[in-house]
């Protein structure tokens, strides 16, 4: 890795470890909220950014993760069993959602996943016997870790940080293995990929399943963070926001979700507190999204590549005009 990248990572790690000591309760809560969305959108980045699938139903997996853990806790089953079960359930449902993706492409797939999300949300809202319906499930407990209580905000933050970093390392390992190249091939040219022996069906299903599992884990963490869950945060609007986060951060860039989740979660909250802004924070956020897309269509993290490409083309055209001038000089 390049030297400045290592330095950046070190600074970021230091900030993440030290910052909560200086923030008030709400600040720590917001930071934890952000981390959970980094985890969820990391999964979506795999599905959308690396494998090129159009998934607008991620919020449903987030919700399935949250509800699984909450319902099991209510039945007396520990979070530590609930969370892996949530991840597994999301993995399986993600596989199932991948099947339409094999038959249907691009815009139609996007709508199919939207439909899936709405269907799941309707079940959450209407099946009171299971999910509490619109009344939701309250008093969701936080897990204990080896005898330590995670009930307070700060300890829970460090726990979430640990889980997120661990899952990120797993994902990095996967992307650096041959699977990473296979996903990129699937995204950029599925027909060619298949003719080279890449099983695009399998990789498509796995892109959905793994992405979904990440959202499931994030959902489990979310349930214990907010400790009261109801259907609203898992509706289509949430999926659309997560999609926004992936695209704004930079699809296919590993740290895209870090920036994207910051833009989607932290920035609106900050804006709300700026004096004079109040109810204009949402329209301003919307406008910011539009401006960002027009300026950097490949996301925030595409900026270094953009600068590099511009410099390279400037050098190339300078070389060309120098060569032309030299040729002219020789001719004369």
């Amino acid at each position: 890795m390049k030297k400045n990248h290592i330095i950046l990572l070190a600074i970021a790690a230091a900030l993440l470890l030290v910052l909560p000591q200086y923030l008030k309760n709400y600040g720590v809560y917001l930071l934890t909220y952000w981390l959970i969305f980094v985890l969820a959108t990391m999964g979506l980045n795999l599905t959308v950014g690396y494998a090129g699938q159009k998934s607008l139903g991620h919020g449903a997996f987030f919700g399935i993760g949250a509800y699984t853990v909450a319902i099991l806790l209510k039945a007396g089953i520990s979070w530590w069993i609930g969370m892996p079960l949530a991840a597994l359930l999301c993995f399986v449902v993600g596989l199932i959602l991948g099947f339409p993706a094999l038959r249907v492409q691009t815009i139609y797939l996007a709508f199919a996943t939207l439909g899936f999300n709405t269907a799941v949300w309707l079940v959450m809202r209407n099946e009171e016997w299971l999910t509490g319906g619109t009344f939701g499930i309250n008093n969701v407990a936080r897990p204990g870790l080896l005898g330590l209580s995670l009930d307070a905000n700060r300890p829970y933050y460090y726990f979430v940080l640990g889980v997120t970093v661990l899952m990120a390392l797993l994902l990095l390992g996967l992307l650096r293995s041959p699977w990473g190249k296979a996903f990129t091939a699937l995204r950029d040219n599925p027909i060619r990929a298949e003719s080279l022996g890449i099983n695009i069906r399998a990789y498509t299903l796995l892109a959905f399943a793994i992405g979904a599992a990440y959202a499931g884990v994030a959902g489990a963490l979310f349930a214990s963070l907010v400790q009261f869950i109801e259907p609203a945060p898992f509706a289509v609007a949430a999926s659309i926001m997560m999609y926004l986060m992936v695209v704004m951060g930079g699809p296919g860039y590993f740290f895209g979700p870090v920036l994207g989740a910051a833009m989607g979660v932290v920035v609106p909250e900050w804006m709300r507190d700026v004096p004079g802004v109040s109810e204009w924070y949402l329209p301003l956020f919307g406008a910011a999204v539009v401006v960002l897309m027009v300026w950097l269509p490949d996301g925030l993290l595409s900026l270094p590549d953009r600068i590099r490409a511009k410099r390279a083309s400037r050098e190339a055209s300078a070389a060309r005009s120098a060569a032309a001038a030299a040729a002219k000089g020789v001719k004369a």
Binding site: V48, K54, P100, R103, V104, Q105, T106, I107, Y108, A110, F111, A112, G115, F116, T118, A119, L122, N126, P190, I191, I240, Y243, L244, V247, M248, P251, E279, W280, L282, P283, L284, F285, G286, A287, A288, V289, V290, L292, M293, V294, P297, D298
Partner: protein, 291 residues
Amino acid sequence: MTDFLQLFFSGLATGSIYALAALGFTLLWQAAGTINFAQGEFVMLPAFMMLGFMAMGAPLLVAFLLSCLVSVVVLGWAFKKSIVDPLLRFGMMPIVVATIGLSIAMRNGVRAGFSAEAHPFPSLFGDALFKVAGVTVTAADIGTLVFALLIVVGTQAFLAKTVTGRAMQAVAQNTESASVLGINVPRMIFYTFAINAVLACAAALLVTPTYLAKFDMGESLGTKAFFAAIIGGFNNSRGALLGGLIVGVSENLAAAYISPAYKDAVALVIFMVVILFKPQGLLGKKEERKV
């Protein structure tokens, strides 16, 4: 039976409004590869524009025409120039996200800048009731259906029968060949955006009297328009009409015979069934994956 016919007929009227929004949505996709997630807000904004013009003293139809004009400039030309043109070559993702941002900005901008309340809106048609074949229908239902159908059929006739319309179709089917043939592609694409703006304006004129003008009226309308466009066939203009009518009628029937809570679910269920079994829509053509 008369109840059923009544519901059917008023469902057709609502459905024809969805058809207007769905048609614009489909045209933008076909001609300009644009998925406009802000289509619902494109209907909401003219509704408020018309209210504004009427507050300044203009009668309804004049307000409508003025709003059409402003919409063509803002929702047609400005939208295309500032958002669609720069992003078109980057694939679908940036445009989808940009239009999502636009819809958030428009919806909440109206709420913060104008009002969060629902405003009444005058109807073009008055309150008369008619009895047709034993079924009671309102003047608004008949008027809406006729007006919307005229616009949809008129748009399709324009596309199929006039030189400009056929040029627009050529651009939609094969942009490169069209430009080689000397068709002014950017202008044809602009016309598509302009038509979409007018269709949205017309939808606003017809739907707002019933739903009232509110900043979030675009949300459900936009969703229904998407569903309608997909159900009918996303690469086919006639599909938008069929899809809109299907959604309108089923909603009405579901609300009455099943339960009002499932009104929104019906469009969703039909949509899911279509996506799973005939993803190109009822009237659409299969789009092959190109090598």
